[in-house]
C-alpha cells in the first residue's frame, strides 16, 4: 500500500483538516496497536518529510485529474475542498457558508500591510497607509486576524503586530509565503527614475530597499497627526516644513 493512498483515504474520511503530525500519529498508532495488521508496519517510523512529500504529490495529482474537488493545505492542515464553480449548487445543498461579515477596505489594507511587513508597529502601518488606523486595528484584533507580538526595540518600545493562524484560515492560505506576490511586497524596491516629474527620465539603476530593517528605525507615534506628513522611517527623508495652506 502506497503511503500517499493511505494519507488520501485518511483525509477523505476526516471530518476536519489534518496536520502532518496528526496523520503521522495515525500511521504510527496503526502499526503499534495490539493486533496490528502486518501491512501497517511499513509506516511505523515514517519520517515527517516523507509524509509531506507524499501530500504534495497527492495535491499535484489531484490538480492533474481536475475533479470537482482538490486537496489543499491551509495553515499547515490538509483537507479536501470543492472547486468554486460548484458553489451555486452546494449553497443550496449545504447552505450558505457560515463566515463572518466581509472586511472593509481600510481593514483589508491594514491587514495587507501587517501581513507583508510583520511584525509591524502601528506607526509603520500609518506611515504606509497615510491615515490613523486605531479603529481598524482593534477590529482586526477582535476578529482574531492579528495579534500583539512583543515590542519593537526602538524608542518608545511600540507594540508590534503579526497576523494569526486564523488569518491564514480566513483567506485559505497555506502559510505566509502563500500570500500573493509575497516576495515583491515584503521588500519593495522602489526605483527612482533619474529625472522626476514632467521631465523625461529613465529608471535609476539603484533600487531602494524598503526593508524590514528600515522600518524598525525609530518612528514617531501616530505620524498622521504630526505636522510633518512625510515623516518616514528614515529621518533624513523628512521634507522641509510646509508652507501655510491657502485659505
Amino acid at each position: 500500500m502506497e503511503l500517499k493512498f493511505i494519507l488520501e483515504s485518511l483525509l477523505f474520511t476526516a471530518p476536519k483538516p489534518l496536520s502532518i503530525g496528526e496523520l503521522r500519529e495515525v500511521l504510527v498508532k496503526s502499526a503499534t496497536e495490539e493486533g496490528a495488521p502486518p501491512e501497517t508496519a511499513a509506516f511505523r517510523k515514517v519520517p515527517v518529510e516523507e509524509i509531506e512529500a507524499a501530500l504534495n504529490t497527492l495535491a499535484a495529482e489531484h490538480e492533474v485529474i481536475a475533479r470537482s474537488y482538490r486537496l489543499v493545505c491551509v495553515a499547515g492542515a490538509w483537507q479536501f475542498v470543492t472547486q468554486m464553480e460548484c458553489a451555486p449548487w452546494l449553497r443550496t445543498f449545504v447552505g450558505v457558508k457560515n463566515r463572518p461579515t466581509r472586511l472593509t477596505q481600510p481593514a483589508l489594507e491594514t491587514l495587507a500591510v501587517i501581513a507583508y511587513r510583520q511584525p509591524a508597529t502601528r506607526a509603520e502601518i500609518e506611515q504606509i497607509r497615510g491615515v490613523a488606523v486605531d479603529g481598524v486595528m482593534s477590529t482586526l484584533k477582535e476578529r482574531g486576524l492579528i495579534e500583539e507580538a512583543g515590542r519593537a526595540e526602538v524608542i518608545g518600545r511600540p507594540m508590534q503586530f503579526t497576523t494569526t493562524r486564523a488569518f491564514l484560515e480566513y483567506f485559505g492560505l497555506r502559510n505566509l509565503e502563500d500570500l500573493p506576490a509575497a516576495d515583491e511586497l515584503r521588500r519593495i524596491p522602489v526605483q527612482r527614475p533619474e529625472v522626476l516629474a514632467t521631465v523625461e527620465g529613465q529608471p535609476a539603476p539603484e533600487p531602494e530597499q524598503l526593508s524590514l530593517e528600515a522600518a524598525e528605525a525609530p518612528v514617531v507615534e501616530a505620524p498622521a497627526v504630526e505636522p510633518e506628513p512625510a515623516s518616514t522611517s528614515k529621518d533624513s527623508e523628512e521634507p522641509p516644513p510646509p508652507p501655510d495652506l491657502p485659505a
Binding site: 497615510g130 500573493p180 511586497l185
Partner: protein
C-alpha cells in the same frame, strides 16, 4: 471626520486620493505631473470645505507637502535645487512622495487580492464525510472462532428454557440484597477475581439476579470490589480491592468502577439477568 468618511468613502486617505488623481492623468506614476496634481488636490479639499465637510488632518498635511513641491517647481530651472548625486536623492520631496505612492499602491493591490480571496473562500466547501462504514473486523486473521462456542450458547439457552417449568409461579423471593452482599464478599475474598457471568450463574429467577446485581453495585460503591473489562467485548471481571488500598468509605474510585462505559454496571444491567 466621521461625516467626511461617509461622503468620501472612496478615499481611504490622502494617498488614496493622490492615487486617484495620478490615475486620472493616465501616465506612469513616475511621469506624473506633480504640479498639476497639487492643484487638483487642493481643489478637492476646497470642494470638501464648500460642502461643509471636515477635512481630515492627514489631507491638510499632504496638501502642504504638495504645495511645497509646486513652489519649488515654479522656480527658474537654474535656481532649482537639483540633486545630482544619489546621496542627495532623499532631499527631493517629489521623490519621497512618489516612493510613498508606489508603496501604498502595492499594498492597496495586495488588499484587493486578499479581498478576492475572501470572496472565493465563501464559494469553497469542505468535505464533511460521514463515519466510514468499515465495520469491525469480523474475525482475527487466519483463525476462526470455534463453532462449538455457538453450540455451547445454544445448549445454554435450551438448558435455561427447560428449567423454566411452564407452570412456574411467582413466589416471594427467598433472598435479600444484604444476604447477596455477604455471599458476594465471601466469593470475591475466596477467588480474588471472577467473571461477571459467574456471579449470576447460580441465580434461578430474575428477582435473584436483580438482588445480586444490586449487591454488586453496593459493594462497588463501598469499594470492596472493582469492575473491569479487558476490551470492548470482553467479559466484565469482578475483582476484590486489596485491603490495604481500601480508602475509608464513602470514597469510591469512580475511575475503576464506572470509568469504562462497558464496565458501567448500569449499562450491563440489560444483559445481566439473562444468566438467571
Amino acid at each position: 471626520m466621521s461625516e467626511y468618511r461617509v461622503q468620501f468613502e472612496v478615499f481611504e486617505g490622502p494617498l488614496d486620493l493622490l492615487l486617484h488623481l495620478v490615475k486620472k492623468q493616465e501616465v506612469d506614476i513616475y511621469q506624473v505631473n506633480l504640479t498639476r496634481i497639487a492643484t487638483e488636490f487642493v481643489a478637492y479639499l476646497e470642494q470638501m470645505r464648500e460642502l461643509d465637510l471636515e477635512v481630515a488632518g492627514e489631507f491638510l498635511v499632504m496638501a502642504a507637502t504638495l504645495i511645497y513641491i509646486k513652489s519649488r517647481e515654479l522656480l527658474p530651472v537654474e535656481k532649482q535645487v537639483r540633486p545630482e548625486a544619489d546621496d542627495t536623492d532623499e532631499d527631493d520631496p517629489r521623490w519621497e512622495l512618489i516612493r510613498r505612492l508606489v508603496e501604498y499602491k502595492k499594498f492597496k493591490d495586495a488588499a484587493a487580492q486578499l479581498q478576492t480571496r475572501e470572496g472565493e473562500m465563501e464559494a469553497i466547501y469542505e468535505r464533511r464525510p460521514g463515519r466510514p462504514e468499515l465495520g469491525e473486523l469480523p474475525a482475527p486473521r487466519g483463525t476462526s472462532v470455534s463453532v462449538f462456542e455457538l453450540v455451547g450458547a445454544v445448549r445454554q439457552i435450551l438448558k435455561r428454557f427447560q428449567e423454566q417449568s411452564p407452570d412456574h409461579e411467582v413466589m416471594s423471593e427467598p433472598y435479600s440484597v444484604s444476604e447477596k452482599m455477604e455471599s458476594l464478599r465471601a466469593l470475591v475474598g475466596e477467588r480474588t477475581r471472577l467473571t461477571f457471568g459467574e456471579l449470576f450463574a447460580a441465580a434461578r429467577s430474575r428477582g435473584e439476579v436483580v438482588c445480586i446485581f444490586l449487591a454488586l453495585l453496593e459493594l462497588t460503591r463501598m469499594n470492596v470490589v472493582n469492575l473491569a473489562q479487558e476490551g470492548e467485548f470482553a467479559e466484565i471481571e469482578v475483582c476484590a480491592v486489596p485491603v490495604e488500598l481500601v480508602p475509608p468509605p464513602p470514597a469510591p474510585t469512580p475511575e475503576d468502577a464506572y470509568g469504562r462505559p462497558e464496565a458501567n454496571p448500569l449499562s450491563a444491567s440489560a444483559d445481566a439477568p439473562q444468566l438467571a
